[in-house]
Symmetry: C2
DNA sequence: CCATTAATGCGACAACTGTTGCATTAAGAT
DNA sequence: ATCTTAATGCAACAGTTGTCGCATTAATGG
């Protein structure tokens, strides 16, 4: 049974199974808020949830599995990217969501990223999340093309990566103090770059030049 | 004594101290090449190096400390960013170095990033590395300004982050298969964006508009 | 209501991580 | 050559992580 994947139906979805899951996931959040990622252990979560640690190992496998399930529980299957009427504002809103997720308390997203370096459960959940999110964001670029804001031959994925990567880079890897202007500034730069054809695929690659 | 910082002179830099360090760091590399980051433990390195694990704990504190010292050993104090004559080629060369570091065998850089989520030694070493590298790269942007390739009021750090963040995002966080075209493609996009004023600081921020 | 069986608890065990006090080795100064 | 002391080794210990076989509880179907 893999609780990290809500697409796999539980064999016994009744009272105790659901209750244990709710208790455990609440314990994960509480432990993260009060003690941070370093203190997020199977034992700590089990004790806090009032269940046996064997139960947690059997259902969630590791800390990464717990975090993946917390993310799964809170994620919105109907999520769509912002649609504000302009590329810059769409990207700003998208970046603000990423910024909020990376600076949230409890820090579910940053904890999941941290866990992904040691837990296959976490790595798999992250991969699925990002694959899904980047795919769902492509219409945002298509809308900008239709509005005539950017060239028709813009590479949607390259634009989206360029717009979002600096947020992750600053907040997760560089660990710089969160600058609330970052979402808008990065969105503005990349929207302007895209309008100028920086992400057009028809431009010859640098290595094609003599 | 902190071996992770080469600026702190060892009290006994003689034969055995230097020899043990060389053996241990070689063991770190060999262990990473043959078994990957997950199997990089203090015990494994100590056994491989032929030293006692207490020695490793005392000198390096944790796996992060080991990786930081390996990085320190291989780093070039005289490193300067590329100077090819054009912003795009400079950024391409810089990105290629990052790409090579992130796909290298042994994967010292990616291991250090992974370790940085659990080891203060690793986090400190990474912070120092990136602070140093981004600072040393600023002349690359200054040269582009002097050549007239980009506006005078370009924000050097924003440009450098935009040019490099997608590499880290793809290779470290998204874990996408390394695309050898990525360094050049990202450099080309960002050089074009910069030329078009995407990183100028005088442009009004998005939130300043009504 | 009862039988079947999935989910959970229990307690023991093994492996791993990290530390400590004392002994030994060797670097460095005289 | 000798003395001082930093570096290292040894073996024991403690705590944490992860697993296992069996027992108990409770979800589910008939």
């Amino acid at each position: 049974m893999s609780p990290a994947s809500s697409t796999t139906p539980a064999r016994r979805p009744g009272g105790r199974t659901a209750r244990v899951r709710a208790q455990v996931l609440a314990a994960v959040r509480a432990q993260l808020v009060e003690h941070g990622y370093d203190a997020l252990t199977i034992d700590a979560v089990a004790a806090r949830a009032g269940v046996h640690r064997t139960t947690v190992y059997r259902r969630w496998r590791d800390v990464g599995g717990l975090l993946a399930d917390v993310l799964d529980e809170t994620s919105d299957d109907d999520w769509r990217p912002p649609d504000t009427g302009s590329l810059e504002d769409d990207l700003t809103a998208l970046n603000q969501e990423i910024f909020d997720a990376l600076t949230a308390d409890p820090p579910i997203t940053t904890a999941l990223i941290a866990a992904s370096f040691r837990s296959e459960e976490a790595a798999r959940a992250l991969r699925r999340l990002w694959q899904d999110r980047y795919t769902r964001c492509e219409p945002l670029v298509d809308r900008a093309v239709r509005r005539g804001e950017i060239p028709r031959d813009t590479d949607p994925r390259a634009l989206l990566i360029a717009a979002t990567a600096p947020l992750y880079h600053h907040l997760v890897l560089l660990r710089t103090p969160p600058d609330p202007r970052l979402p808008a500034q990065t969105a503005r730069s990349i929207a302007k770059a895209a309008a100028g054809g920086a992400f057009s695929v028809s431009a010859p690659p640098a290595e094609a030049r003599p």
